[in-house]
């Protein structure tokens, strides 16, 4: 298995991912799964600005991600897969290809309708429900912003606020 991290993080490619997780996991490729970004060249340019030259970054729609997941998972290349929200990770997981994998919740910020769960995680009721469903589909979900931090189990995330 060579997808070294599945992460949900609103900020996608940023310091925690590149410096924090990047230094620990040494990815060769960053894959951002997002339908809108996949077709927006100028936004891709902005997001990839912080990616060092020796690393690849690509932006793919959910359909393509599902198609290529088996390849990423079996290839020796080290892939870090990012989505900006839980819904996108959920749609990717519908393929069944994330069964038994660990998904990391890394940063979802304050917005109307969301309540605070952790310092770096704010969730709406719908998002809690989606996390429960993901988990019932065999995906292991925990939250952790940086590799050294405490890994927060799903139960703490979906606990009614």
């Amino acid at each position: 298995m060579s997808v070294i991290l599945y992460r949900v993080d609103e900020r996608l490619i940023h310091g925690q991912v590149m410096v924090g997780w990047g230094a620990r996991l040494r990815p060769d490729r960053i894959v951002v799964v997002d339908d809108e970004l996949a077709s927006s060249q100028w936004e891709q340019e902005l997001y990839s600005m912080g990616v060092p030259d020796e690393m690849e970054a690509e932006f793919v729609p959910v359909d393509e991600a599902i198609e290529r997941l088996p390849d990423w998972q079996s290839n020796p290349e080290r892939v870090m897969l990012l989505t900006r929200d839980i819904a996108t990770m959920r749609r990717t997981a519908r393929s069944g290809l994330l069964h038994g994998q660990r998904v990391n919740i890394g940063g979802i910020h304050h917005a109307p309708g969301r309540t605070r769960v952790l310092r770096y995680v704010f969730l709406s009721e719908a998002e809690r429900e989606e996390l429960r469903e993901l988990s019932s589909e065999g995906v292991r979900i925990t939250a952790r912003d940086l590799p050294g931090a405490r890994e927060v189990p799903l139960e703490e995330l979906v606990r009614a606020s």
């Binding site: 310091g15 925690q16 410096v19 924090g20 304050h110 109307p112 310092r119 912003d145 940086l146 050294g148 931090a149």
Partner: protein
Amino acid sequence: MTGWLGVALWGGIVGSDSTSFPQVMVSRPLVAGAVTGLIFGRPLEGAVVGFLVEVFSLTTLPIGAARYPESGTATVAAAAAYSAVAPAGLDPGYLVLALAFALAWERLGSVTVVLQRRANGRMLIRATAMAAGKLERRHLAAMTLDFLRGAALCLLGGLSGALLIGLVGPLWGLDSGPTAALLAVLAAAMVGTSLPLFSGPVKNWLPVLAGAAAGILVAMALLP
């Protein structure tokens, strides 16, 4: 008395500088310590306390962890405490105690930073479209609060540090020679641990070797 007023004022500046304003790095331990020493007329001692805390802070990078030890305010407290109670000149035993105190106090500092950020949130987020003037006032209020936080943290830390170090200092029994040598070993080791930050000693082996050679040459030239 005016010394402690100065500590509070300087502490407010150092506390603000590390996050709020203006991040010109007067909050680095070396600077924070030297100026604190200066307030008590002992700048060299303050700078050396700062030097020691600084080598322990090299690998702490603010890249989004839950909390970071706040080394700036802790150095102000430790340097003030040292200046207030240590015997004239540089006393290695008292320096170790000041360092230990700073390393403990910076933990408390990080807790106050978290509290400050929560308070900022309560004060600011009801901010679905806060009007311009209100945003400005709240922002400045948050900055004022941070200044006061730094001042209180340094004053309290300086006084309790002085009390503690004043009590424990006279008990120090290790000779100053060995103490200084042990401190140097520790400091050097901590500087060495910062090397992996810079793409690692393996990838940049040439500058690393050149640096070590240059360092040894300079040190040899300095030694009597």
